[in-house]
Assembly symmetry: C2
Homo-oligomer: 150 residues x 2
């Protein structure tokens, strides 16, 4: 396989990103790859917020992964800045290729560069394979993640 590049996403990457968000057991029910309008609106907000880093992984000119890193300053833990990883998706063709690991390692390195003392993420309780994957990368499953739909 050709070289892998991880770079900031652009609006042109949105169709490929949304296709990956939808190609997932949970995502299939909540995404609309045939209607990009809501994603374009969200993109405007993401692109103008310096705390947001949406990146894509590209192999041979093709977008094969995406994740969103958010940098959050805070007061607790002696004024620690933390990062949150959200929306990690790897193209079906790339599963098992090591891209997931490369991707999370990129997010950890970037968090360090941004002065974060903590990286955090939540993973749906049903994604047990993902849980083992994050633990192998050094994460601790120390918290319970609560969500409330508005």
């Amino acid at each position: 396989m050709g070289d892998l590049e991880i770079r900031p996403a652009t609006a042109d990457d949105l169709p490929a990103i949304v296709a990956m968000l939808a190609d997932d057991p949970l995502g299939a029910q909540r995404e609309s790859p045939d209607d990009l309008t809501p994603y374009l609106t969200a993109w405007e907000r993401l692109a103008s917020d310096p705390s947001q880093h949406v990146v894509v992984a590209v192999r041979e000119g093709r977008v094969v992964g995406t994740l969103q890193l958010t940098v959050i300053p805070g007061l607790s833990r002696r004024g620690a800045t933390r990062s949150i990883i959200e929306g990690v998706r790897v193209h079906a063709d790339e599963r098992g290729s090591g891209l997931g690991t490369r991707f999370i390692e990129w997010a950890i390195d970037e968090s360090r560069r941004q002065g974060c003392q903590l990286v955090q993420l939540t993973s749906d309780a049903s994604r047990t394979d993902a849980h083992r994957f994050y633990e192998r990368l050094g994460f601790t499953a120390s918290h319970v993640g609560f969500k409330l739909q508005l």
Copy 2:
């Protein structure tokens, strides 16, 4: 008890906020209420970031609670904006007064006002009382929260 006001925090509230962060079984080990320098540095960053809302609850002129609400735009869930609640602390004298409920209800209402479709938070697995509290307020413990210290 007198009326309760929830308002944006100011730099003058930092000593009271840090005292509450430290007055907690987990916080006692990781905060430094005698040295506010790192908190003042973090405060500069928080105050200049429009996605960050650090608030305090005040009763009879005294700060009795704090929380941080972060608004995060995103692509997944049809470009949903979510909010994250962090650093919730209620003064020891106020526990059982209903302030915790008022506070989280404030955060939910504010999230709605900010156009969020989802409110999320993580709670240390050891805080089982807090878990029941969030479930009573409508949150679902659907996720596992992973952290990595840098």
